[in-house]
């Protein structure tokens, strides 16, 4: 017994130290470096000319596109997260029920989750192609359109399709979160509520949905962070263009640094983004604690 006790006394550092070192080096240090960069003067070659206080933030706020991009980021994040949840709820309900081929359908749903978002976006770009795209062909065959349509031709249309694709890649994860929630509810409660005589919708609203709320809230916060950070969909399909018309703050930060070669101003944008994400994380922590209490 004494030997066992002794072994317990070996410090935590040899066990958790190496993992912490990698996290510090490649996650926390870059965060520090980025925030520091946002207060520095750095020229196009990457040479630093010391601290400049809030100059980069001032330059950023003078950017005439910023307001529109900020508004678009809000629309982007909220519409995708809300619509994803609204779609995932019934989809999970269907996948939770038993029907022939359910296993196959579940496997089909994980394909967009496992596949690279870049490649999925590329396929959508091709499907929506104004000349050779299959969507044009389908709509022509059905007689819904008379001529080929440029689905990514106007700003509104492009942005709408970007949102559609983002929902497409977010639904699988969210559905599985809801499925996990449904599994914890247990068959007996679901069964019992079936024989109560309440209508399906009433039953869902008063019994199932409240029980799903904890899982749903957490799924929503994770989606909030992912969607806000989302880069490949916009980059592949429109590169935020034409101009800045389909940019979010995430793609704007990237453009400022790697197209306009103003890494310090970009760091200012990214630091603001990072602050917003930290806010989401605080929200996440609150939500998970709320779950533990209940």
């Amino acid at each position: 017994m004494t030997t066992v006790r002794k072994r317990y006394r070996v410090g935590a550092l040899p066990w958790i130290g190496p993992a912490m070192a990698v996290i510090f080096l490649m996650v926390l240090y870059p965060a520090f470096e980025m925030i520091k960069t946002s207060f520095m003067s750095i020229d196009a070659t990457g040479t630093s000319h010391g601290f400049t206080g809030l100059t980069n933030y001032r330059t950023l706020f003078r950017n005439p596109n910023l307001t529109a991009v900020l508004e678009r980021t809000v629309v982007w994040t909220i519409s995708i997260v809300v619509l994803t949840v609204l779609i995932s709820l019934p989809v999970a309900q269907i996948l939770h029920a038993k029907f022939p081929g359910r296993r196959f359908v579940r496997y089909a749903l994980i394909v967009p989750w496992a596949a690279s978002v870049v490649m999925t976006s590329t396929s959508w770009l091709w499907i929506l192609n104004g000349y050779y795209g299959i969507l044009n062909r389908i709509l022509l065959s059905l007689g819904l359109i008379q001529d080929q349509k440029q689905f990514l031709g106007s700003q509104t249309q492009s942005f709408t399709w970007l949102i559609v694709v983002a929902i497409f890649v977010s639904v699988p994860f969210t559905t599985y979160v809801v499925l996990a929630g449904l599994t914890t509810i247990g068959e007996d409660i679901l069964e019992a509520s079936t024989v109560d005589g309440a209508s399906g919708w009433q039953r869902y609203k008063s019994i199932i949905f409240p029980l799903l709320r904890p899982a749903l809230l957490i799924g929503m916060v994770i989606n909030l962070i992912n969607v806000f950070n989302s880069f490949p969909i916009i980059w592949v399909m429109t590169t935020g263009g034409p101009g800045y018309s389909t940019d979010t703050t995430t793609t704007l930060a990237y453009k400022i640094s790697f197209r306009n070669a103003d890494i310090a101003q970009s760091a200012a944008m990214a630091t603001i983004n990072f602050g917003i994400i930290l806010l989401f994380i605080v929200l996440f922590l609150k939500v998970s604690r709320w779950r533990d209490d209940s």
């Binding site: 030997t3 066992v4 072994r7 317990y8 935590a12 040899p14 958790i16 190496p18 993992a19 912490m20 990698v22 080096l25 490649m26 996650v27 965060a31 470096e33 980025m34 960069t37 996948l95 029920a97 029907f99 081929g101 196959f104 359908v105 496997y107 089909a108 749903l109 394909v111 967009p112 496992a114 596949a115 690279s116 978002v117 870049v118 490649m119 590329t122 396929s123 091709w126 050779y132 062909r137 497409f168 599985y176 979160v177 499925l179 996990a180 914890t184 899982a215 962070i225 950070n229 880069f231 930060a253 990237y254 640094s257 790697f258 890494i263 970009s266 990214a270 983004n273 922590l285 998970s288």
Partner: protein, 284 residues
């Protein structure tokens, strides 16, 4: 009473079952559609791709695209980078996450909560949001155009999830099993290797596959720090085709499917843990 109810619900279910089956299969169709279109395009000929309006199915199934692509693109190079980087990052994650998760799952120690908070918070960070900082750090350490840069970044950003899911697996294994081994003279490391790890195998597989897939699919970091084709993974290498004057969609999609199919199979292997493990691991 019970029989009556059963009869009633049975009848109801058969009616429901048709709707359910149709909805279920429609969902499958929608979520598979972009990949089916990828597959169809990947076996069309160069000229057929540029017909207006497009054909539903290839007139000539040009399976040879899957052979010529290896000569048309540096696909073998991209594939090698993706495999080396993803595997190395995954192995590094497991090597460091297993001891950390084991210790956290087994012991109460000073700073445990701080460590768990660190893990939870970094799990929420994405490389995209820190790209500027990572880029500056990689330049400072002279790691531009190296595999090492990607391996370190991918390992760091996946460490949290693996520690989280593994520690919940380790914590669920009764400590008595281990203590018996210690009394038999095994060291703590030996007990971990020979007794705990085999029991926690599902958790290890889940952590392995999640890390591997996230490294395999990563785009932004690789796009930013790997400018030489020799160090670009599949995601970046294939996407560089889009910028070209004449996009070779058939090769782009043949290459994409070569990248997608293996990870979908891996992911399907842990499908049953997605429901149970995901909420237990990433969410609690």
């Amino acid at each position: 009473m019970t029989t009556v109810l059963n009869k009633k619900s049975h009848k109801k279910i058969t009616g429901r079952k048709v709707t359910l089956t149709i909805s279920g299969w429609t969902i499958a169709l929608i979520f598979l559609a972009p990949y089916v279109e990828m597959m169809i395009t990947s076996v069309k000929s160069k000229t057929e791709i540029l017909t207006i309006p497009t054909t539903y199915l290839p007139q000539h199934w040009t399976w040879s695209n899957y052979i010529t692509i290896w000569k048309q693109l540096p696909l073998a190079q991209y594939l090698r980078t993706s495999i080396v980087v993803s595997l190395s990052a995954t192995i590094l994650v497991l090597l460091l996450a297993i001891p950390a998760a084991y210790y956290v799952g087994r012991n109460k120690f000073k700073g445990r909560n701080a460590f768990l908070l660190l893990v939870l918070v970094t799990q929420m960070f994405s490389p995209t949001s820190l790209i500027i900082g990572i880029f500056r750090e990689i330049i400072r350490f002279h790691l531009v155009n190296t595999w090492m840069a990607l391996i370190l970044v991918y390992a760091a950003f996946n460490m949290a999830f693996s520690i989280w899911i593994l520690s919940s697996f380790f914590a669920s294994i009764p400590v008595e099993i281990e203590e018996a081994a210690w009394i038999d003279g095994a060291t703590r490391m030996q007990a971990l290797r020979q007794i705990i790890l085999p029991i926690a195998l599902p958790g290890l597989v889940t952590a392995f596959i999640f890390t591997f897939i996230s490294a395999w699919n990563e785009f932004v970091i690789a796009l930013t720090i790997e400018s030489s084709p020799a160090h670009q993974p599949l995601t970046v290498g294939l996407e560089s085709l889009i910028g070209q004057y004449q996009v070779q969609w058939q090769y782009l999609f043949a290459g994409s499917l070569i990248a997608i199919v293996p990870v979908v199979i891996l992911f399907a292997m842990i499908e049953k843990y997605l429901v149970s493990g995901l909420t237990a691991g990433s969410v609690k």
